[in-house]
Symmetry: C2
Subunit: 308 residues, 2 copies
């Protein structure tokens, strides 16, 4: 184990890839590794990049990675994908990306299947980010497809979250924007060469204004990721937001969320599977009700006092 | 409480709306109500309708509701929305829908904010569906925007899940389709008057073929929801899937998932918030590591034996 940690800290790509797989699969050995590596974390800027399908998040992440590499810094990209149970792997786009950066040890790319994880994708994503932070990457970019609970959770666990919007999108975009306001530290208007940029920016401002004084106004950056436009500015704003938000209080809040998610993920292991199945049968037959069942279980659960 | 249950069972719309709010807000009184009403559940067909933004899920749900009403049966629609913390309410489209059906007691429509719920949106959605089932609605349609963990969870908790796709959509649709295959009981190709319908249907078939014999081939229904085309067929297929899938084993599996989600939602209440905050501070300062902290907590958790 110690040798393995040393290899990861020394930048051994194969050791890191193997560790990432263990972490993604929630293997106990992966957790043991994280425990050893934790003191080395806290240096990377962990950014979430989220938005609707088709907003160009992957292209943005790629361009950010190129800009970071041009400075000589290193970057890891975690792409959270809804993945087929049939293919069981990363989607094609990411395989292509991985090939492009294959020879560059300063770039690490990993697709994380969100599958039907009962514990949600957030704890595994956070742990992978911790691993990459410990391994010495200066930036960790977490890309999430779609909008929903995943995004909220991943955003809560990232240091900074950028929400990507595109001008002139349809009806449901209204809903996307609304849901996503609470997790945005900054907004990116990508494909900013399309019509409707100004009105989208006004909409974002109007929505923020509704939030009142309590909500800081978030920066809005315009990009055309496919041509690399606005990327340098975006990187600068990400770093600025990170500096501003990375107070001790914010870090503690982050860890409160992360600990809750870690606990929620692991708690089910400690519940009696056989008893749950038996109760489910009774409920399916309407011989008992689920609400009383859960109450009874909760009353049987005790959390021993801390030993000093 | 008993009077309230009676009013709900008698079809009192105001009593139902109030109960739905309590259930959505996870109020203990709402849970008490559900406990009383549970014996009356099990008659409704609870269907999930999911797909990417812009796929026309709301229009489909509306048309299904109209077809169900035309038969004289009743229907409830639950729209799971990512909602702004600023507006705190349903999105505009649903308000418009609600007004249209306002005078019809045979239609119930409710938007469920997914917000940043720590327990996820699934338990509240399931409970709301249970309430509407008990209240006597023949159909409960659950609409989810976006694709991710939410959809997987909601789909696991519905009796039947329809995945809505649209021909000729972009790049990320490949990802959406992949992620969503595992939750689909049937596919709807909406906007089927657009080019690319045949090739989309072939793609769906090809993907299913990859799954091998273990995976039953799911029906594919073509609709043009905006013109009401294919709606009668869709309704028939939903009912057929429900009959086929509603075995005792499937019902038990459903309740295993539901119980796990209910437990996961409630477990955090039983953890010491103050201690979590204190641990988070230590971790933020790198004075301890989160992995050992969580292990220690889990070792302190005990689940008392069942009393007979």
């Amino acid at each position: 184990m110690q040798e393995w940690t040393e290899r990861i800290l020394a930048g051994d790509a194969r050791a890191l890839a193997r560790a990432a797989t263990l972490v993604e699969n929630r293997d106990p050995e992966g957790l043991a590794l994280l425990r050893e590596l934790f003191p080395r974390t806290g240096k990377a800027i962990i950014s979430g990049i989220t938005g609707a399908p088709g907003a160009g998040k992957s292209t943005l992440a790629d361009q950010l990675a190129a800009a970071i590499r041009a400075e000589g810094a290193t970057v890891a990209i975690i792409a959270v994908d809804p993945t087929s149970p049939f293919s069981g792997g990363a989607i094609l786009g990411d395989r292509v990306r991985m090939q492009r950066h294959h020879a560059d040890a300063g770039v690490f790319i990993r697709s994380m299947a969100s599958r039907g994880r009962l514990g949600g994708v957030a704890p595994a994503t956070t742990d992978l980010a911790m691993l990459l932070d410990a391994a010495g990457f200066d930036h960790v970019l977490i890309e999430t497809v779609g909008v929903g609970q995943d995004e909220v959770e991943v955003a809560r666990l990232a240091d900074v979250t950028a929400v990507v919007l595109v001008p002139g999108m349809g009806d449901d975009v209204q809903a996307l924007k609304a849901g996503i306001l609470e997790i945005a530290d900054l907004f990116v208007i990508n494909k900013a060469d399309r019509p409707g940029v100004d009105s989208l920016e006004r909409e974002i401002e109007a929505m923020q204004a509704l939030g009142g004084e309590a909500n800081a106004v978030r920066p809005v950056v315009r990009t055309v990721a496919s041509r690399g436009e606005g990327i340098a500015e975006l990187l600068a704003v990400l770093r600025q937001c990170h500096r501003q938000r990375h107070s001790n209080r914010r870090k503690t809040d982050l860890w409160v969320h992360r600990l809750q998610e870690m606990l929620r993920e692991r708690l089910l292991e400690h519940l009696p599977a056989e008893e749950i199945r038996q109760a489910a049968e009774e409920i399916a037959d309407h011989r008992s009700d689920p609400y009383s069942t859960v109450e009874t279980w909760l009353s049987r659960l005790t959390f021993a006092k801390q030993e000093n």
